[in-house]
């Protein structure tokens, strides 16, 4: 029975199901209170967690997002049930940490992870097209490195605590969310009272949706970066059909719920600075490829015991702290009295994206598996 289920989840129907469920739940989470065109965004939600912990002090984006917690725990449950939980680590952890940081810088330049790029597009935000084009470019560059023998090196089986670490961190975050301690006067844990961080679905709904997605994504290996990579690398459309299902179902759901607004300018929590939307996502896509998975996939991997994926997740959270403290992130478009001010990253943010691209390109040329 377990083997038959495993084959189903590994099939085309399995990946279509996972994509469709994410595409359905994300707009519903938005309807239930999550920010606009951000029913789910792994990068944005990790950024909100960084803010809640006080790693950055932008008051509008601070909340311990239950979806992130539940993605890891849902994956953990699936991995345990199907006997796939396997503690492992040791594949270039410090490099993975910095890939996570720079991936976050790129994602926050665009204002979204690959999931949100698709969800923004499904909400009518055409900047999602530019972001996706950047993603394709970054992944295509990474495929060149893969073909030349790029490798992060091997992970090794590890003692149990290595595999349990990220799920334990998530449980700790859940406790902080439930008990809301305030460690110092005017200090963390912070919860936004206005802005995107203040907009969230009820806790139990977020947790339930996250657990379902975490479970399905662990079984089907849903990955938006892998979707594009596999097509470019070997004309394999398996994962792409999952990302396609996410987009189509989210589009239909948004139309049905009246959450669709077509255009480039002044879209919710977005900017229409095309060059930096493109370059930001190119950096994110390249970093995800070099690390072997999109930010969602890194959460699911860390739920099944992959300590290296957990390091990448921590890198993203710390990267979000830096990105906001150093004002590296893209600023949304502003529309005041009929005058549009196009947003985007400031000079430091632009420099950070270019440094991140240079970092990834150096890795692409230099990371090779060493003979024993």
């Amino acid at each position: 029975m377990s083997e038959r289920l495993t084959r189903f989840f590994a099939s085309r129907w399995g990946i279509l199901l996972a994509g469709a469920v994410i595409g359905l739940l994300a707009p519903l989470l938005q309807k239930a209170g999550n920010p606009t065109n951000m029913g789910i965004c792994v990068a944005c939600f990790e950024r909100d967690i960084a803010g809640a912990l006080g790693l950055h002090r932008v008051a509008t984006v601070q909340y311990i997002r239950p979806e992130i917690i539940a993605f890891v725990l849902g994956s953990l449950i699936a991995a345990l049930l199907f006997r796939e939980f396997k503690p492992r680590a040791g594949s270039a952890p410090i490099i993975r940490f910095f890939l996570g940081m720079f991936a976050m810088v790129g994602a926050l330049t665009f204002l979204g992870c690959p999931w949100r790029a698709l969800l923004r597009l499904a909400g009518g935000d055409l900047n999602g097209l530019v972001g996706t084009a950047g993603l394709v470019a970054g992944i295509a560059l990474g495929v060149v490195f893969l073909k030349r023998g790029y490798s992060m090196g091997r992970s090794r089986p590890a003692p149990a605590p290595v595999g349990w670490m990220t799920p334990a961190i998530m449980l700790g975050l859940l406790l902080l969310l439930l008990f809301r301690p305030q460690f110092t006067k005017d200090g963390p844990i912070f919860f936004s009272v206005e802005g995107p961080g203040s907009k969230h679905a009820p806790l139990l709904i977020s947790l339930a949706a996250g657990l379902v997605i975490g479970f399905l994504a662990q079984r089907t290996r849903f990955c938006t970066m892998g979707a594009l990579r596999d097509v470019i690398l070997m004309r394999d459309t398996h994962l792409l059909s999952g990302a396609g299902a996410l987009f189509v179902v989210a589009l239909v759901t948004n139309l049905a719920l009246g959450q669709f607004k077509l255009g480039f300018a002044a879209q919710p929590i977005a900017h229409s600075n095309h060059l930096w939307n493109f370059l930001g996502m190119a950096l994110a896509g390249l970093a995800f490829l070099l690390a072997g998975g999109c930010p969602g996939r890194q959460l699911f991997l860390s739920g099944e015991g992959d300590g290296d994926a957990g390091i990448f997740v921590l890198g993203m959270i710390f990267g979000a702290g830096f990105a906001h403290n150093w004002a590296l992130t893209g600023v949304p478009d502003k529309l005041a009295e009929g005058v549009l001010t196009v947003g985007g990253p400031g000079p430091y943010g632009q420099a950070a994206v270019l440094i991140g691209l240079a970092f990834c390109i150096v890795l692409g040329f230099t990371m090779r598996e060493r003979a024993r």
Binding site: T6, A10, F82, E84, K86, R88, G90, S91, L146, K147, S151, M152, R154, S155, R156, P157, R221, C223, G226, R229, D230, L233, M234, D236, H238, A291, G292, G293, D308, E369
Partner: protein, 69 residues
């Protein structure tokens, strides 16, 4: 003698890349060693797409896939 591809511990998609390189070299059978179900399914899918027969054997908590024409 079977050609052995040891893809244990490698991140996605390297097990598939290594298996495909071996397939292109054309020396069969090929034995691919992997340590996760994800890699097992990915290599299996790539081999079946190439029209090969795939036999899977569990070795401890790892897997050996034997690819034949």
């Amino acid at each position: 003698m079977a050609k052995v591809v040891d893809a244990r511990g490698l991140s996605c998609p390297q097990p598939v890349i290594l298996a495909r390189q071996a397939m292109e070299e054309g020396q069969f059978p090929i034995e691919v060693l992997v340590d996760t179900v994800t890699s097992r399914e990915n290599v299996r899918r790539a081999a079946e797409r190439a029209g090969l027969k795939v036999q899977v054997e569990a070795v401890g908590d790892e897997f050996k896939l034997t690819l034949t024409r």
